[in-house]
Structure formats: C-alpha cells, structure tokens
C-alpha cells in the first residue's frame, strides 16, 4: 500500500520555524514506521534526521509522536496507524525536548534528571563473599515493572505536568527512583527520601495517566508514583 508520511522538519541552525514535508512511500501494512523512515533516508532524502538502532523496541532510540501519540517508530506497524491507501501518518519530535534536527531531540536535560535520582544500588549491607544477596521471588516482583524502562522519553513528552512545572523530574526519572526504592537489597528511602519527597518530584504528579498510556514498555508509571507517595508518607510517619 502507499501511505503518506507527513513529517515535521526543523533545523534550529537554519530555520526560524518548522515546516511539514510529505513523502509518499510504498509499504507493507506489516512494515514498521521505522522501515518507512529508513527507506526515505536511503533512497529519497538523505537529509532526514532521526535516531534508530535496535529496530524492535528495546533500545529506546526512536521515540517520536506518531499521529500525535508518543510511540517507538520500530514498535509501530503501518497497519497500526494507517488503514487505506493514501492515508496520512504524521510524525513529530517528542514534546518537552529541544529539537536538534527533524525528529532528533536533545536528551541531555532528560538524562540529567534521570541521573539526579541516583539510579544505582545503594546496598543495605556488604555483599556476601562470593555469593548473591538473597531476594525472594515476591520481593523481586516488586521491582519488575520499573526495571523494564528503556529511557526512551515517551512519558516525558506525554506528561502534561511538564507544561505547568518545567522543573518536574518527570515520569521516567521517578520510575528509576522506584526501581531502587522498592528493591529489597537497597537502602531505599534512607538514601532517596529527599530526592523523591519533593514538590518537583512525586508530589508534582496528579494522576493524568498519560505516561502510562504511552509507555511502549507498558510500565504502570502512574501506579509506581502513587506507590511511592504512599510509601513516603508511611516512612515519614515512622511506619516503615
């Protein structure tokens, strides 16, 4: 089938505003949107800029807005976003990130917020000599969802709170915090209370659920943030 990709093009070094450009591509309904982009760049317009790598939804390079919704271009099939010949699929860069060129966005601030939650294990105790920390399957299950995050930025783009409060750490950084706060091997809130118990952290979220809706890894992000809110309250009341 033939679909029309309607792409938001912008180069901050050259353009004062973005423009839209259309490319008609011949695709199979089961092709990925990424396949169509690669085809354009290899055969039609080499200047089209976008990131890519694994091509199956695991590296997080190609998050963008497809028909207005945050998705990974490699995890979105043409048939998911276009039904008939001549259908138009719009492609835009993520929100809340400065655009570098076309569909490429600057992730430095996003990743700085990820680093700000100290996303690494602070073990409660010294590791056993030549052995593993024991962790029950139930305790392991508590962090399963959060460990799936690939930092693609889809949630950060979709979150309406970042329009109101640009200092909000954002959903992805809070997922990283939850991954350690709920890890039975980690010091948890003993180390991270100040980071998460903040007006620009968990308390900035008021349950719009847009992050959860767009997460390509299907992480229940809002639920994790709410769990942290409850845990922080209990911790401060001395109940943990």
């Amino acid at each position: 089938m033939n679909v029309i990709l309607d792409i938001n093009r912008f180069d901050p070094e050259r353009d004062s505003e973005s423009r839209r450009e259309r490319f008609e591509v011949c695709v199979e309904p089961t092709d990925r949107v990424l396949d169509a982009l690669i085809h354009i760049s290899r055969y039609e317009d080499g200047t089209l800029a976008f990131r890519k790598s694994c091509a199956h939804g695991i590296c997080g390079s190609d998050a963008m807005r497809i028909n207005g919704k945050e998705r990974l271009a490699c995890k979105t099939l043409i048939r998911d976003v276009a039904e008939a010949d001549g259908d138009i699929v719009t492609l835009d860069p993520l929100n809340h990130f400065p655009v570098q060129k076309d569909l490429m966005v600057d992730q430095s601030e996003f990743l700085a917020r990820f680093r700000a939650v100290e996303p690494y294990l602070n073990p409660k105790e010294a590791p056993p000599p030549n052995g593993e920390f024991y962790q029950s399957a139930q305790d392991r299950a508590l962090i399963d969802d959060a460990t799936k995050c690939i930092n693609c930025g889809a949630c950060y783009s979709a979150c309406p709170k970042l329009d109101e409060n640009p200092y909000f750490l954002g959903p992805a950084a809070l997922v990283a915090a939850a991954r350690f706060v709920f890890d039975s091997r980690d010091k948890g809130l003993d180390e991270r209370l100040k980071i998460v118990d903040d007006a620009d952290a968990i308390w900035s979220c008021d349950n719009h659920f847009d992050c959860t809706r767009v997460c390509p890894r299907e992480i229940k992000i809002t639920k994790l943030i709410n769990l942290m809110k409850r845990t922080v309250n209990k911790y401060k009341e001395g109940q943990l």
Binding site: S41, R42, D45, G46, I58, Q100
Partner: protein, 577 residues
C-alpha cells in the same frame, strides 16, 4: 579539537562499560560511543548468562568450559574457555551485587534455566546453567553497568563515531573521532584504546542485529593493516521472527518450547537425539534449513524463506508471561500471535560474529606474533577465541563481562607504566585526511540504499547457513564490485551538524570491508566446522583445518594466513549430541 586521555573505550555496551568501570580508577578515561549509553545492542540479549553456580542442580565450571569447546567445534582456544567458565561465576555474583535484578528461585537465589549445548558431565544431559532476568538479561546487564558508571563518574562522549586509529609502529597513540552533533573531527590521544564496538550482522539481509551493528572497530583496524581472525564463522540463530529476523530467545526452548515442521513432527529428534531442540545453534539452524529444503516448512514451498513453528503454547499463560514476557510482546506486536495460544513462525537469522579482532586472554590485540601495544578489544568485535566455530547461547554475555573486566584491568595496569601518548604528525595528518574525506563525502552522489541491499542479499544467499564454492565465489565477486563502485556514493546532506547520512556511508564502507573478509575466509576453508557449513566439503577436517584464519585486507584483496588452536586440555572428537 584535541582531547587527551590515558584510556579511551570505544563502545558503550556490556564489554565497554565493564572495562570502563575497571580502568577509570587508574587514569583519565573516556567512553566514546556512536549511540547514547543504554542504547547499545547488549540490551537486546534475552535469555541469560551462563555460569556454573549450581543453584538448581549440580554443575561445575569445567563442564561449562568443555561444553564451550565442544560447542565451538574445537576451534576454541581451550585455556581462554577455562578462564571464561571459571570467572563467569564470580562475574555473575558481581553483577548481582551491583544490583542486577535476576529472576529468583523459591529460596531467593539466582534462578537458572537450560540453554542449548550446556550440559552436565561432559554431555550427559542438559543442565540449568543460564542465569536470567526473565527474557531481558542483556537489558538488565546494560542498565546495571550504566548505573554503576553513573555512580563512579565515568565520562562519556555520546554520539561520537570512531573513524580511525593513529599508530606509531605497533603502538597506538590515539584515535580520530567524528562528533555527530557538530560534524567536527577530533584527535583523541590515549595510551590505551579498547575497541568494544559489537557485531556486524547488518551485512546480512535477515538479522537480529541492531542497525548500529556495523563492525566499525574491526573495519578500522583492518584498514590499518591489522589481521582479523576467523571471520568466516558467523552464527545464524535458529529462531528469528519470520522475515524480520527479530530474536526469539533460545530460553523459549530452555523452558520447554519445541520446533515443529508442517507435518507436526518434532524434527529435532532426527538431528540431535539427546539434546533435541537444545542442540547448539548451528545444528538447529541447519536442521531447519534442511527441513525447509525438503518441503517440510509450514508453506511446503521448499524455499529458504519458508519457516517452521516454535511452539510454547503448552507452557501456559503464566509461564509465558513470567519467563518470556518480552517475547510474548514481540510476537503480539510484530506477528499478531500470542505464544501462549499459538506457535511462533521462525527461521534462522544472522546473529553473532564469532570472528573479529584477535586478542589474548587480557584483551591485548595480537595475532600470536605481533603485539600491538596499548591496543585492546573485547566483546563481540573481539576474537579471544572462546566461541571457536560456533558460540553457545549465553556465552556472549559471559564474554562481555569476563573479558570486558579483564581488558579493563589490563589497561589499568598498562597505562601506569606506559609512556605518554604522542600522536605527533601522524595524528595531525590523519585528522587532516579525515576532514577532507568527510567534506568530499558531502559533495553528493549515489545514495546508500542500492549498495546496502545488494550486499545484504548476496551475503544472505551465498554466505549463509549452507555454503558452496560456487556461491561464495559469487559473493566475493559481488562484494568486490560493490567496493569498487563505493566511491560513487555521496551524501545529499551538506550539514555539519547531525549529518546522519555521512554516518550511514561510513557504516556501509565498514560492512563492505568486513563482508569481503567473511566471504574470502569462507571460500578458502574447505571443510565444515561449526557455523561454517560447506555442502561441497561436509566433513570437519582436523588434519588440514584445525587452525584459526587470519585475514588481512590488501587493497581489493584479502590475504589469508593461519595460526594454531590451543587444544591443550581436550582432544578434538566428533561432535555429536
């Protein structure tokens, strides 16, 4: 610009990050990568990391080492395999202690499952050796190592593409890198440089590899006159998603999944009566291709783009969702198939380069005669050689961790006493050359699409699972022609900043060079061993071919040389399962 470091690590996957953690304490260290960290293809590894912890059943590292040697069809350097298996145990504990969220047994220990070719008691039966985190083990390794790099303040230059090395005789003094965000070329001096650039499966049409897996490290060194080792050995994983090549982990079969042909026959019974579906990958891939060519594929067409079924539906929804959740997600997304209900259509997919940059057991680059001072390699781009003619499942992750760590330690020791790096006029000459070259590429020309497709097509068709002299000759001819016309390719994009088109041209050049190594080495090896399966020479020939290939690029030709294999522990025997 000019940058000066003691240690430069090229590549931010498992091997690069582990080496960076080890080396960063000893000197000024930087990791440069063409991707952002966390984007590297280590993150796509699914099934597990092999280590004889013995958490569920008796196991020991000697069995693991033997399985590795036998799995590699005796082309493995045996001392390197022993180190791999012994240090795997400590490496897995170390990763767990650093936070890696392994799946757990009911007692809270690291859970383990079966994997192809991993056995107890030298082949008696399959053993639970693969330590896993659902089907996201590589993702967890990549995340854990990156977390530790943040904790330890390791410095990164993100989205820098290495394009060349600067050598003073056999000593490395620096590298040339292309910064994508600005288009600038940098001379980076370093006493020690580690290549950890990963694989190059993108030379094949159907592959599980990332688009970024273009073999940049091996290609750069080959153009600088260094030999590559065992490039004819490329693993085809038996279970890729039909057409797309996306990996379906061997862990599916480790959990009890089975392969069936169109008649509902569990065909592996014919090919590997003891290990069945858990035979090593080369054997299962050949079994599938044989079934397809006999018309037993699901369509019955006899063509190699037919497929077989991988069935895990009998495992039930709970096992599928807990042990292989990402696989279930891939199948739903790309095939509209729920593996808890229906079988998955699979075919072999180009997966892993056994060959690469030759190193010793400390990651130092050497062909056995020359040692290149300060130059190191680890991970898939390296050839230690622990995989020989065919890698066992899980051993890629083991290699990243064990040999990434050993290389990092060796670099830390090396830079203490090494003289200050001085790229001198050689460095400036190369920098000037690359500035000119990149500008010249931006003068326009043919787009990359046609050459890229022609390369992938000929490599897949002619240097795939089964090979013959006639087919490989065709590939050598095609690749030689594509290299000859490479100069016609140019970029339409004139920008300095984020010129992704220039990057893709450089990547294509690397893949074409490596394709020539692979096809030329395959043409010369007139035997069948591991993943190199010659229909015209179906037997393994130890008398003539128990040796590693060293291939050197000499303008438009490959010159071949050989070196002995370390067989000091186990005498080569016929490989049956």
């Amino acid at each position: 610009m000019r940058f000066d470091y003691d240690v430069v690590i090229i590549g931010a996957g498992g091997a690069g990050l582990y080496a960076a953690l080890e080396a960063s304490g000893a000197g000024k260290t930087a990791v440069i990568s063409k991707l952002y960290p966390q984007r590297s293809h280590t993150g796509a590894a699914q099934g597990g990391i092999g280590a004889a912890l013995g958490n569920l059943e008796e196991d020991n590292p000697e069995w693991h080492a033997f399985d590795t040697v036998k799995g590699g069809d005796y082309l493995v350097d045996q001392n390197a395999a022993v180190i791999l298996a012994e240090e795997a145990v400590r490496a897995v504990y170390d990763l767990e202690n650093k936070g890696l969220p392994f799946s757990r047994t009911p007692e809270g220990k690291i859970d383990q499952r079966r994997f192809g070719g991993h056995t107890r008691d030298f082949g008696a039966a399959a053993v639970k050796r693969s330590c896993f985190s659902a089907d996201r083990t590589g993702h967890m390794i990549l995340q854990t190592l990156y977390q530790q790099c943040i904790k330890n303040n390791v410095s990164f230059h993100d989205e820098w593409q290495a394009v060349d090395v600067v050598m003073d005789g056999s000593r490395i003094t620096g590298i040339i890198a292309f910064e994508l965000s600005t288009g600038e070329l940098h001379l980076v001096s370093a006493k020690a440089v580690l290549f950890a650039t990963g694989g190059f499966g993108r030379m094949f049409k159907v592959t599980s590899n990332a688009i970024a897996n273009t073999g940049d490290g091996p290609a750069i060194l080959a153009r600088n006159g260094l030999p590559l080792m065992d490039m004819e050995f490329f693993q085809f994983h038996p279970t890729g998603i039909r057409k797309m090549g996306i990996l379906i982990t061997e862990g599916v079969r480790g959990e009890g999944g089975m392969l069936f042909n169109r008649h509902g026959e569990r065909f592996m019974e014919k090919y590997a009566p003891t290990l069945l579906d858990l035979a090593p990958r080369d054997m299962v891939s050949r079994a599938i291709i044989t079934e397809l060519s006999r018309g037993n594929g699901i369509q019955g067409s006899g063509a190699i783009d037919d497929w077989v079924n991988l069935d895990a539906s009998h495992l039930g929804k709970e096992v599928v969702e807990s042990k292989i959740p990402d696989i279930a997600d891939f199948c739903r997304t790309y095939l509209g198939v729920d593996p808890a209900v229906e079988p998955m259509p699979v075919q072999p997919t180009a997966h892993y380069a056994m060959g690469g940059i030759p190193t010793d057991v400390d990651g130092r680059v050497t062909d056995g005669t020359t040692l290149w001072n300060g130059l190191f390699a680890a991970g898939e781009c390296a050839c230690v050689s622990v995989h020989g003619a065919n890698r066992l499942g899980t051993n890629s992750l083991v290699e990243l961790i064990v040999y990434g760590r050993r290389s990092g330690q060796a670099m830390a020791a090396y830079v203490k006493d090494a003289p200050a790096a001085n790229p001198g006029s050689a460095g400036n000459d190369k920098l000037a050359h690359w500035k000119k070259r990149i500008e010249a590429l931006k003068k326009g020309g043919k787009k990359t699409g046609d050459s890229m497709e022609a390369m992938k097509e000929t490599m897949m068709t002619n240097v795939g699972v089964y090979r013959t002299e006639k087919n490989i000759q065709k590939a050598v001819k095609d690749i030689t022609a594509l290299r000859a016309s490479f100069g016609e390719i140019g970029a339409q994009d004139r920008d300095a900043h984020f010129n992704m088109e220039v990057l893709s041209i450089l990547e294509l050049e690397n893949l074409l060079d490596l394709s020539l190594h692979t096809s030329a080495a395959a043409l010369a090896r007139t035997e069948s061993r591991g993943a190199h399966s010659r229909e015209d020479y179906p037997e393994r020939d130890d008398a003539q071919w128990l040796k590693h290939t060293l291939s050197r690029l000499d303008k438009d030709k490959i010159k071949l040389d050989y070196k002995p294999v370390d067989v000091s522990r186990w005498e080569p025997k016929p490989r049956v399962y």
